[in-house]
C-alpha cells in the first residue's frame, strides 16, 4: 500500500447546543485550520470527502450547503458518505491508493441537538420489525451493558471508573464538553436512567465538526515534521439484529483490528469511539489492548459525542499524539449503528 499520513487535524469546541452558527459556519474555521496545520492550501487538495447525516438536521441533502465551507470553486473532486467521518477518511485513503493524487481533505459535521437524538437514532433500525417498536439508542446500549455485566466481563464500578477517568482526562482537552473531577463512589450513588446505565455511562449530546488533511508519501514528509503514517486501516460490519450477535463482544472490531495490524507492535495510545462506558471494555478486549495502553486521553465520546463526527475525531486525536511527538504508535477506532454494529480501526505511527 502507498504511504499515507494524517498531517493536519482540527475540531470545534463541542457544545450541548450550537445555536448561533449553522453547519456551514461551524465547519468553515475547522476546515481552514486543518488545512493550515496540514500545510496544504485548499486549491492544492486532490480530493475532498465528508461524512454527515440528513436525519440530524431533519432535511434532505444537508451536506450540500456544507460544500460552501470548503470553497469548492473551481469545481473540486469530491464525494460524501452518509456515515461517520471516519468512513469518509477511509474513502480518502482508498482514493489516495489509486496513486494519481497526493492529498485529501476529510471533514464531518453534526448537530446532535436539533432533534431528540435518542429517537432519531431509532430510525437506523430495521424499518419493518424493529423501528415500529421505537427502541431508543440508550435503551439498546443498556441491553448490551446488562449482557456484558451478566457475562462477568464488566462491573458497574469499572464502568463508573471509566467515566471518571475519561472526564478527568478531558480537562486537558480544550474541545471537550463534559469534564471534571468525578469520583466513582459518588457516581455509583446516582440513579439509573436505563438500568444498568447511569447518566455518567452515557455520552453527552454534542454539536460540532472536525476536519483532517491526509497526504501521501513525499508530500506528507514535505508538509509535516512528523506525519502520523497510517500503517493499517480496515472496517467491518456485523449482523443488524441485536439477537443475531454476541453483544458482549465485538467480532467486527476484532476482525478490523487484526487486519489493521493492531497487534503487530506496542500501542501507546488508543482513541476508542465508545459512547457508553461498557463499550470501552468490549472494545479493549476485541482489540487485544494491554492494561498499559492509554485509552482515550482526550476524554473520548464520553466527553463529547457529536454524532457523525466523533469517530473521525478519534482518528484526529490519536494522530495528533504522534504529530506532537507524545506517542509513537496509536490506534483509533470509530463505530456506527446500534450496540457497536459497525467498526473501523486505524493504526498510525511516527517515524522520526
Amino acid at each position: 500500500m502507498r504511504d499515507v499520513a494524517v498531517v493536519g487535524f482540527a475540531q470545534t469546541a463541542y457544545a450541548r447546543s450550537e445555536l448561533e452558527l449553522n453547519e456551514t459556519e461551524m465547519l468553515m474555521p475547522v476546515i481552514h485550520q486543518a488545512l493550515e496545520r496540514g500545510g496544504i492550501p485548499q486549491k492544492e487538495i486532490g480530493f475532498t470527502v465528508s461524512g454527515s447525516c440528513d436525519y440530524l438536521a431533519g432535511q434532505p441533502f444537508a451536506f450540500v450547503m456544507a460544500l460552501d465551507a470548503v470553497g469548492a470553486w473551481p469545481p473540486i473532486r469530491e464525494s460524501h458518505v452518509e456515515m461517520d467521518g471516519a468512513w469518509a477518511l477511509y474513502e480518502a485513503w482508498v482514493r489516495l491508493q489509486c496513486g494519481d493524487i497526493d492529498s485529501a481533505l476529510v471533514y464531518a459535521f453534526g448537530k446532535s441537538s436539533l432533534g431528540d437524538i435518542r429517537d432519531v437514532l431509532t430510525l437506523q433500525l430495521d424499518p419493518y420489525y424493529t423501528q415500529p417498536l421505537w427502541p431508543d439508542s440508550v435503551s439498546m446500549a443498556a441491553l448490551q451493558a446488562r449482557a456484558t455485566l451478566d457475562a462477568g466481563k464488566a462491573t458497574e464500578r469499572e464502568m463508573a471508573e471509566i467515566a471518571a477517568r475519561s472526564r478527568r482526562d478531558a480537562r486537558a482537552n480544550a474541545a471537550a464538553q463534559v469534564t471534571g473531577d468525578f469520583n466513582a463512589d459518588a457516581l455509583l450513588a446516582e440513579r439509573y436512567i436505563s438500568s444498568p446505565l447511569r447518566k455518567h455511562d452515557c455520552p453527552p449530546i454534542s454539536d460540532g465538526a472536525a476536519a483532517i488533511v491526509l497526504a501521501a508519501g513525499d508530500l506528507a514528509q514535505r508538509v509535516s515534521k512528523r506525519p502520523a503514517w497510517i500503517t493499517g486501516i480496515d472496517h467491518r460490519v456485523e449482523a443488524h439484529g441485536l439477537g443475531m450477535r454476541d453483544l458482549t463482544a465485538s467480532a467486527s472490531t476484532r476482525i478490523a483490528g487484526e487486519r489493521a495490524g493492531v497487534g503487530e507492535g506496542k500501542v501507546d495510545v488508543a482513541e476508542l469511539h465508545a459512547p457508553f462506558t461498557h463499550q470501552e471494555i468490549i472494545l479493549r478486549e476485541a482489540l487485544g489492548l494491554d492494561d498499559d495502553v492509554r485509552v482515550n486521553p482526550s476524554g473520548g465520546a464520553l466527553a463529547a459525542n457529536a454524532v457523525m463526527v466523533a469517530g473521525l475525531t478519534r482518528i484526529g486525536e490519536a494522530a495528533q499524539r504522534i504529530i506532537d511527538g507524545d506517542a509513537n504508535r496509536v490506534v483509533a477506532h470509530a463505530t456506527s449503528g446500534p450496540c457497536l454494529q459497525q467498526n473501523l480501526v486505524c493504526v498510525m505511527e511516527g517515524r522520526s
Partner: protein, 385 residues
Amino acid sequence: MSNRVAVIGVGQTKYASKRPDVSIAGLLREAAQRALDDAGLTYADIDAVVIGKAPDMFEGVMMPELYLADALGANGKPIMRVHTAGSVGGSTAIVASHLVEAGIHERVLTVAFEKQSESDAMWALTVRPPFQPSTVGGAGGYFAPYIRAYMRRSGAPADTGMRTVVKDRLNALKNPYAHLHQPDITLEQVAASPMLWDPIRYAETCPSSDGACAMVLASESAAAKAPGKPAWVHGTAMRSEPTMFAGRDQVNPQAGQDCARDVYKAAGITNPRKEIDCAEIYVPFSWFEAMWMENLGIAPLGEGWKMVQEGATGMDGDFPVNMSGGVLSSNPIGASGMIRYAEAAMQVRGTAGEHQLDGVRKAMGHAYGGGSQFFSMWIVGSEKP
C-alpha cells in the same frame, strides 16, 4: 499502484411505481442476486459491499447500510454507503471501483436503490428548514428555470425536449426492466400533456420508481475467471461545485465540463463524439439531453439541440444516447446513476438484449445531482484499457 477494474456482473430489478411485493432489502437482493448470477458468484465470494441512494428521508431509514448489511451478505465484511445527491448511483460505482483499482479487494458488490413508494419524495424535498426558503416545487420546479435559460440562450426549437422524450420512451419498449412502456407515444401526445413547471410538461418528466441496480466489480485476475465477457473501466471522474454564487452558470456548469475533461483524459479520449460509441446520460427532464450534449463537449456550445433535432442521439444516430430509455423511462432516484453506468457496461459486453447496439467498443455512463452541481462519469470499454 493502479489496477485494472472490470464489470463482471450486472443486475436490475423491474422498475415500477410501487413494488409492494418486496421489502427494501428484498428489492436490493433482487438486483444483487442477478448481478451475482451474471458474474457466476455467490455472496460468499464478495469482499466488500458499497451501497448508494438519495436522501434517507425518501424511505425513512437512517443510514440504511446498517439494516441492509445482513441482506447483502456483508456480515464480517466492509460495507459503505455513499450519498452525493442525484449523482449518487454513479459515485457509488466509482467508490466501489476504487476499492479494486487500489488493489484492496478482488470482488466488490455495489448496489444503488430507491423505494420511493415507502415514503414521499415530494414531501422529503419540500421540508422547511429555518432561514431557507422552501421551493415547494420538487426537482422539476428547481430545474425549469435552467431549461428556460437554455432555450433563450440557444434559440432551440420548442419541440426539442419533446423529441427526446419520444425517442427515450420508444427505446424503453426494448428494455424489459423499464418502468414506462408507452408504445403509442407521439410528439402530439407529449405536446398535449399538462404543463407542470413551464416549460416542462408532465410527459417530459421522469417517473417516480421503485428499483435497484447492482454490479459486481472485479480485478483483472478475478475477471479472467468470470463466465461472461467483462466491461473494462477506462476512466472515472467526480466533480462538485457550490449550489449558488454570483456568476455561476447553472445551464452549462463548470463542474460538468471539468468532470468530462477528467474522464476523457483518464480514458485517453480526445474526440468524444467519435471515440465514444454510445452514452447513458442522466436526463430526468427532457431538455437535459440537449443541455448535457453541450456540457459534455459532444456538441458545440449552443448546438446540443441540433443533435436531438437531427436524430443524432437516436439508436441509429452517430451518438446514441439512452438506449435503455433513460431516466425519463425509469427513475428509482438513487439507482438512476448506477443504471446509466450498468447500461453502458451492458452495451460494451454485448448483453443489452433488444436495445443492444452493434459493435460498441466504448460507452459512457453519466450522472448529476443537487442543483446541477455534482457530476460523476465513467467510460467503459470492451477491451482492456
